[in-house]
Symmetry: C2
Subunit: 577 residues, 2 copies
């Protein structure tokens, strides 16, 4: 179908379908959400007020047969970080939107009534409906209800109770092809959805709907080369499919960069018990699935289906970040406690990274002892899920918990929790944490690849040399990949196999009948970063926000006993492009 902009106004409960403005035509995914947010949202607005907007956009390649092109971008002003935010997620929604010709769905305004609504996105527009029976429901129940109502193929995006309560850790869940959940996790966009009183968005696509391809033969040829490269690269073709993202537990532990006990140590004694290898064996033993794609057309299949000891389904999309955060960072070495927490967090609808890092900070502050996995599960279920005062506090994120408990070792940048790589021991990712407009975010420029995995070159993780340039190049490339709707893991082959990178450009050209060059794609990435940076500056952020917390420079990290030693000038050099 022809691409159009779907715009829902929750103040007067109306929806309209608009032509795509010329300057948005070449954009998709993150490029489009960030452009719309920058053009339409007052940077200083309250993120939960009527002036913020929530924008969903499939990538430029989403809906096509291009491998791993089913990623969706969700954008808005973050209630957690106060910055612009793009939260990236798998599931079926990106491909469904693309096939419907929904170039972007923009939700604006805020209803006066206190009810929650569903938005039903169809080819001819959006139906807005009161949904009193969905209030207070977890994400699993919402998905079940909507699939029962509209059929198994229905796309569903929803918020759990955390989003209804507008907690800064609330995420947005997206149904995957098997009815399981993926999460647009970071930055609290679930709270923005809650503030607009949208409990869920459902998508119905006519059976024969397809994405138009300008040059089908060229597209097919490039897509084939691309898929082949993905399957040939050792990381995307072997490591990730076999062990999932948790393959990184042992790798990063070995590198001395696995943040442990609230970023006090770089190695975790219990790493083996929570490693991808252990999980792989457990899954096989218990009859789960070691390989599983978060969206149709994924050839990497890094997700999995994890069962409990009784062989009953427990969780899916059981990622390295979640496992590290509740595991090493909170010193929990019981993988079933972590799986239980992961499942609860999916249902309640909260970011596993932010929530678990908050737990680590609370442990530092004395709320519960390090290692208390059962305590974490209890707090998630009984407090965050139900919105008790403790739940409200923990649902405010790691920065807030640190302030409440007077903790000085609080791993956040722009108030967003730092993920699973200690920046002292993996300095390239530290530069990404500092400088990405998103707040601490490893996916924005995954320098771990080149620092640790030696993909796309070799930059010593413990030294400063080359890290700013590395992070800059990766952030530019990632902004472009996020615009195409491609999974971040395609970067591994794209960095190492020249044909894979060319194939992406060829697919874009064939899809739209255009003739982008590598330089054009590079320029696009730069423009997106600059646009996002511009929003943040207009929101009141400065280069002082492009910094790691003080403790990283003061406390050395075992086993390498390294500190964060970049000067302000060295970091600010990032924006010199």
């Amino acid at each position: 179908m022809v691409d159009r902009i779907y715009r829902v106004n929750m103040t007067d409960l109306t929806a309209k379908v608009e032509d795509v403005p010329e300057n948005w035509a070449g954009l998709g995914g993150r490029g489009l959400t960030s452009t719309i947010v920058t053009e339409e949202v007052v940077p200083t607005c309250h993120p939960l007020g009527p002036n913020n907007k929530l924008v969903f956009a499939p990538g430029l390649l989403s809906g096509t047969v291009a491998a791993n092109s089913g990623r969706l971008s969700v954008g808005g002003k973050s209630p957690l970080s106060g910055t612009i935010k793009e939260s990236n997620v798998g599931g079926t929604a990106a491909q469904q939107f693309a096939k419907l010709g929904v170039k972007a769905l923009i939700i604006e305004g805020q209803p006066e009534k206190d009810n929650f609504y569903s938005l039903h996105v169809m080819g001819d527009g959006v139906e807005i409906k009161e949904e009193p029976q969905l209030e207070g429901k977890g994400n699993f129940a919402v998905v079940d209800t909507m699939l029962e109502r509209l059929g198994e193929k229905t796309g569903v995006m929803s918020i759990g109770t955390a989003g209804e309560m507008m907690m800064p850790v609330a995420n947005i869940s997206v149904k995957d092809p098997e009815g399981k959940l993926r999460s647009a996790g970071r930055g609290g966009l679930g709270a923005v959805m809650g503030s607009k009183k949208v409990k869920c968005i459902v998508i119905t696509v006519p059976k024969k709907a397809t994405v138009p391809i300008a040059e089908p033969e060229n597209f097919k040829a490039a897509a084939k080369i691309f898929a082949k490269a993905l399957m040939e690269h050792p990381v995307s073709g072997q490591g990730l499919p076999t062990y999932g993202t948790a393959v990184l537990v042992n790798v990063i532990n070995e590198a001395g960069g696995l943040p442990t006990q609230n970023f006090r140590y770089g190695q975790f004694e219990g790493h083996d018990k929570i490693s991808g290898e252990t999980i792989h064996d457990l899954i096989e033993e218990r009859g789960g699935k070691t390989r599983h794609g978060c969206h149709t057309g994924c050839v990497i299949q890094c997700s999995q289906v994890y069962n409990d000891a009784e062989g009953k389904y427990k969780t899916s999309g059981f990622e390295y970040e979640s496992i590290w955060a509740m595991g090493a960072d909170c010193c929990v070495d019981n993988i079933d406690h972590i799986a239980e927490a992961d499942s609860l967090m999916d249902d309640i609808g909260i970011d596993t990274i932010e929530t678990s890092v908050s737990m680590g900070v609370a442990m530092e502050g004395g709320l519960l002892p390090f290692g208390d996995g059962e305590g974490i599960v209890r707090i998630i279920k009984e407090d965050i899920g139900k919105g008790t005062p403790l739940g409200r506090l923990m649902g405010s994120g790691a920065g807030a918990v640190g302030k409440a408990y007077g903790v000085t070792r609080v791993p956040v940048v722009k108030n967003q929790a730092i993920p699973a790589y200690d920046p002292r021991a993996v300095k390239g990712i530290g530069i990404t944490y500092c400088t990405t407009p998103m707040g601490a975010d490893h996916t924005a420029g995954y320098a771990v690849a080149t620092n640790i995995l030696k993909i796309g070159g070799d930059v010593d993780p413990l030294k400063k040399e080359g890290q700013v340039e590395l992070s800059r190049n990766l952030q530019i490339a990632t902004a472009a990949l996020d615009t195409a709707g491609l999974c971040i893991f395609v970067a591994f082959p794209a960095l190492d196999i020249p044909e894979a990178f060319s194939a992406i450009i060829d697919m874009l050209n064939a899809r739209f009948g255009i003739s982008l060059t590598a330089d054009d794609v590079n320029e696009l990435g730069k423009t997106i970063l600059r646009t996002e940076h511009e929003f943040n500056l207009a929101a009141g952020l400065t280069n002082k926000d492009d910094r790691l917390p003080e403790f990283f420079s003061q406390e050395s990290l075992p086993p390498h006993n390294v500190v964060w030693d970049f000067t302000d000038e060295e970091i600010d050099e990032f924006w010199n492009f």
Copy 2:
């Protein structure tokens, strides 16, 4: 005695006494604390880490017989606002420091051990002592213990349990001449004291210690004129002594600017029940004191001793701000509930404004119903005082509570709670809230005087015209008064009676044998503001932080149905001096 700098290093538990650097010689009070903080504190440091400093400085006139000159400035980087902070307080400490020749006490570093200490400031230095028996004690018990140990005349400054727990709402208590408490309330400096593990500072002054006066006769003459003006002005000589600061309840309610139900309305139905007039009658009925000075030499005596229904002492320094915040803002019209809360807040050591405004925001978020005075008392005592998770959340301040509960009507500037005058209906004070480097602070430039009380002129409170200039002039003058150690209420006569203003300059000149002009004093005020602003900019704040929350522009305030309508450019004009 000759003025010197007392410097305590809590990392190695040493103290030294230093000569006063030349560029600090002409400074005292806020001028000195802000200069020291700007010169010695890394603006981006963690406020609770070893790189922050806590600075105490008496005013230039403190310790002399000048009326109302016993105010102390406490400075540091605020854990609440992240800005530079000067918190101003009465009590005996300023005069005692001045008589000892303590031009400033600087506390720096942080001990490794988890014990709390007392600092005993004497003529020849500071004794640092472990005080295990004081841990977990409230301020009243600390004062009792130290007076018993060192005698009734001992000066005491302390933190309660909130300061020990490093809550962002924690204040610093200062003993008054009768052994009751005054508070350096705003900005969480009690948490900074707690982070340095200083539970209390005690001061012993030799009996005959006096402040040297360069020109005693001139000083005496000027002091006489000054005191006479204070007593002759209707506000400082009559309104405040008779009814205390709570005389403002009915005045501001009448003006439609009394923030009610979390800044939803400008008038409170129950205003009569919490007014200065009602309190005055109750005090007389119950055998308290309607007049009471927070420091020796105060001729205004706006404080009081408030007894409970049984005639037993309940609280002192029962101020308009506290009464408004728990009263109108939380819709509590039971004055005894407010008094009970006030007494508890003094003991636990928390800012009454920040804490009560947090309660109003929590009420908006559904934690407890508006009007539930007993609920507030319970939360203060059982939760904040004991550091439960709810207490930790409420102890984080109004901004944090707003984020946790997804509330958009959160009255803060630079994350500090807005005090007792709605900026929509008293626009001059709104400009002060926006622009003062302190975060929302009415005392920084009390435009209410000219907007409502018609002191120093008449600027229509509902119109924008003249407000920026008014606030600027008042902020400059206030910075100078805070440097002299004078109570803010001397501004009333100083604005209306030319001799009073001259007398202040004459006293400064006679004290030091110098020849300042009015222009010099004005320049001093400007320099202080610029110094503080410079710190904030270096800490990462921008002009975007000089703004009121969005809702003030979106929601009109009854009964005048006015909104906040300043443009960004109009506000930024403030710094054009």
